[in-house]
Amino acid sequence: MTALLEVEGLVKHFVAERSLFGRALAHVKAVDGVSFSLEAGKTLALVGESGCGKSTVSRLVLRLIEPDAGTVRFDGRDLLSLDAGGLRAFRREAQIIFQDPYASLNPRMTVGQILTEPLALHELVPATRRAERVAELLRLVGLEPRLARRYPHEFSGGQRQRIAIARALAVEPKLIICDEPVSALDVSIRSQILNLLRALQDRLGLAYIFVSHDLAVVKHIADHVAVMNLGQIVETAEADALFAAPRHPYSRALLSAIPVPKPRAKSSRIVLQGEIPSALNPPRGCRFHTRCPYVIERCRTEMPQLVPDGTGHATACHRTSELPSSAAIVPMDGGFSPVLEKLVAAFSGGPEAARGGGVSSVGEPPAQG
């Protein structure tokens, strides 16, 4: 199976400090040798703590910033060798939506103008048909076409995120990078956007790179997960396999720390001691060794490589085979109680459930609301 996106040995070091004569004195090793691949129509989640490089990876993939080393192949083409024209054509196929729906829409443009811009820029739709296409895009994300005349400030956070998604969809991309797309949204709005992203993926065959620090959301939406620590991938696996039994000590700590909506949940939480080391001066050897409860001498000197096990699960840890079982590490929330399960089903299936908003409305004209 050929992958839509293949990333190989990606490196990006930012200069943090320069000498008087402009010579670089210190580098932030934001991304340091990252490789992964993504198939069409699938979702890869990048997870990790702030500063682990997950957002930088997503920008490197789009060539919004230039990598220092490595290759990115999209649909068989080498992205790093594209000239300006080729890059522009590529931007039709890969789009990005950001965390802050308040900052990512131009306040001086109407929603109609925001959505028309990519159509005109890429000469996708003749001028006479553009209004029609804008209406279609708005319906696709569950908004009414008449809203095209309004300005971004007239919308709530969730609606703005829908507009940002519509703008990304305007060019009919194959890949959308979602950089913390629901982190700024309230719980009930968050679920609407997650449902929408999933419905659009099914309908349009989109691939997503989903950058998030919310692991329950990742479990919900991702097919594949890559766990990053200080610029490197330490573990990558199918989402179900990772959440069933994380292998790398860092993944274990991360997943065990998820707060679950169940009082007195059984938990074998690993609370990491110590600070996240600075990416300016990452530790020698394994970059996690300063916080790792299983550290041995070898970890301090030798950097572990990402070793695949043949089932699509790869781990970068010297001690993978010796570590205790991690089967019970991810906290169990036990799902819904029987009463709650029925109540939630009734809540979702109630008389008004068919009204605009979530998945049910995708593609169909939403009712006036």
Partner: protein
Amino acid sequence: MSASPLIEISDLRIRFHGDDGRVTHAVDGVDLSVANGATLGLVGESGCGKSVTSLAIMGLLPKQSAEISGAIRFDGFDLLKTPAQTLRDLRGNRLAMIFQEPMTSLNPSFTIGDQVIETILRHRGGSRKSARERAIELLRRVHIPSPERRIDEYPHKLSGGMRQRVMIAMALACDPRLLIADEPTTALDVTLQAQILELMRELKAASGAAIILITHDLGVVAEVCDEVAVMYAGAIVERAPVDELFSAPQHPYTVGLLGSIPRLDQRAEQLATIEGMVPNMAQPPAGCRFAARCPFVLDACTKAPPPLIEVSPGHLSRCIRAPLELLVS
């Protein structure tokens, strides 16, 4: 709850008068009480009035634009009628608060030591030397490594998790009876969040202080709270012991919230969503505020505001259709 509550809020109403003459009913008839040593979770989405309620307790709302009525009884005082001087003595002393943004709630031009010591000197007096020793002790209690050295650092040198620890150390400086924590872990990574929650549990066990934890994260609530109050559009719509809220919620809004969080144990194809929008609080609807978004709505819901009824001992719901299990059995 047998003992008399540490803090008792009755019929708290807060209206904001905007410059354009509009009046927003931010909080509308909130009753709450917290016993000594208990942790109450105050849950709700943006704009539901949870933070405004906590600011009213602390006396931090602007006098010009906020019109407050009701009573907040704490430790023999009615905080709404207490003179400013007394309130200043209470704040940071018996009443303490930590905020969401550890990045902005410390003064960048003073060392963290200066800021912790200031609190101690203001409320406890004594020499600067003894206050400094206490500050180091406090920083150690919140697990800041090498506090003797860290105390002389400026806030920008510390990470987000460390700053939140300093905020907690300041809040604990005078052994408060009540700690209000407004989204204390929202800005933090999940590993740091686990550390801070662990710390709060530990400190609560050691000091016996009551905590009001304001959050939108139901996972955090399940982990640290004994009791939960769910707020919607300025009113408390449900109040219950934590186990009951998560197993048998009695307000449709709570059901919607619980249904909309992704679960780790089951891969639902779709999450529940709450359709529609929060009502405009400049003109609150006549009946139940959730009626327009509620799938269980009846005609009667839109006529008059529903009363808070006791569904089972200690479990209150502002829904005329409660108990809700009757709707699905």
